[in-house]
């Protein structure tokens, strides 16, 4: 009984990270009083392509880049605002992230140990900006790979949009990837799969099924993400600090090619492999 009350108190006092805007999320991760935004809305660096297509732009193009301190060390946090155009990566939005990562790398080369954090709440490329969006996503991938030998690149997928398309590759390239149970991570989103392959292949409205396949808990159980954290702003900020204290991983997921090929070979495409079957096949939590 006492335990139940304590749990309830903890639940009620918990500050949700998911309910925060991208700007508030960046603030929640930086040491108190150190947050300052780069290229904020008043710089009016919005997409030049959306208005041509009759779509209202947002003055920060849906990405918040903030500098400050994490655990007293210089840091940069790039947060994607999922409420604007589904967190899609347009030319400006993507370039803000790529430039932030590139400047962090330059900091390291000058002896400034800037810690990079990415808040990946995105459906992937912004279709209205087509190749420009794809090009900047490639820039982000290259920037993560160039930066991660200097310092762990920490990614967070909190939900509720999740992380899809080319940006799911960016998530996979991170040195340390943190998710909540509400997060989803995948190349094609469920709606896209249903549209392309039919509802018999995947019913995108079946939430239980979707989360059992690509949800945060499942991704953690099969070792495709590094850490599962409850939706709690303080817990997520602590997980970020701990990730930087822990330092570099033994190896990057993107270098474990034979191990992942072996995993794919283990799957029989003639059988339907659901979430529990994949856990049984790929083992719990261990690295590939």
């Amino acid at each position: 009984m006492t335990a139940a009350v304590t749990d309830l108190d903890r639940l009620l006092s918990r500050k949700s990270f998911i309910e925060l805007s991208a700007r508030e999320r960046t603030k929640a991760l930086l040491d108190a009083g150190t947050w300052r935004e780069l290229l904020g809305p008043f710089d009016r660096l919005h997409s030049p392509w959306l208005e041509m297509q009759d779509i209202v732009p947002q003055e920060d193009d849906g990405v918040v880049v903030a500098r400050g301190l994490i655990d007293g060390q210089p840091a940069v946090v790039a947060g994607i605002e999922s409420a604007f155009q589904g967190g899609s990566m347009g030319e400006i939005a993507g370039m803000k992230i790529a430039a932030a990562l590139d400047l962090a790398r330059q900091d390291h080369e000058r002896g400034i140990p800037t810690r990079p954090v990415l808040l990946l709440e995105t459906g992937g490329v912004r279709l209205q900006e087509a190749n420009l969006g794809l090009a900047v996503i490639a820039e982000i991938h290259a920037a993560i790979i160039a930066l991660r030998p200097h310092v762990p690149v920490v990614g967070i997928i909190a939900g509720l949009v999740g992380c899809f398309g080319g940006m799911s590759l960016a998530a996979a390239l991170c040195s340390h990837l943190i998710v909540t149970p509400q997060a989803r991570l995948g190349m094609n989103g469920p709606e896209v799969i249903e549209q392309e392959a039919g509802i018999a292949e995947l019913d995108a409205s079946d939430k239980r099924l979707i989360w059992s396949l690509i949800g945060g808990e499942q991704r953690a159980a099969v070792g495709l993400v590094d850490q599962l954290v409850e939706d709690d702003a303080d817990a997520i900020a602590e997980a970020v600090r701990a990730a930087f204290r822990a330092g570099q991983p033994d190896s990057y997921r993107s270098q474990q090619i034979p191990q992942f090929l072996a995993r794919l070979v283990a799957i029989d495409p003639a059988l339907v492999t659901d979430g529990p079957a994949l856990r049984a096949l790929w083992g719990k939590g261990e690295q590939a």
Binding site: G40, F42, I55, V56, Q58, E59, E81, A83, F84
Partner: protein, 97 residues
């Protein structure tokens, strides 16, 4: 998408700026900053066409009580008039902090 501009007389100087909201479904983004002249200027980009008179009504009411020389830019994604009024009040509140 439709764009509107409105001007209102102002007799007080504004000093601070504020940014509130997001260009998401049923919401809007408001940027409020000091105006370079002694007039309040409002520019609206809205995703919903044909509501110029409703925008004018909401802003007319707002500027009966608010007399500062500000430049307001709104990027709207289908917010209701009530939502617009609340976001404007929130922007004023934030600019006071």
């Amino acid at each position: 998408m439709e764009t509107f501009t409105f001007d209102y007389p102002a007799d007080q100087k504004a000093t601070a700026r504020a940014h509130v909201g997001v260009v998401g479904s049923g919401d809007l983004e408001v940027l409020l900053e000091p105006s370079p002249d002694q007039t309040a200027h409002v520019r609206i980009n809205t995703s919903v066409d044909g509501y110029g008179q409703v925008w004018k009504n909401v802003l007319d009411r707002f500027f009966t009580r608010f007399r500062k020389a500000v430049r307001i830019e709104i990027n709207d994604f289908g917010a209701t008039p009530g939502m617009v009024a609340l976001r404007l009040e929130q922007a004023v509140e934030e600019s006071r902090q």
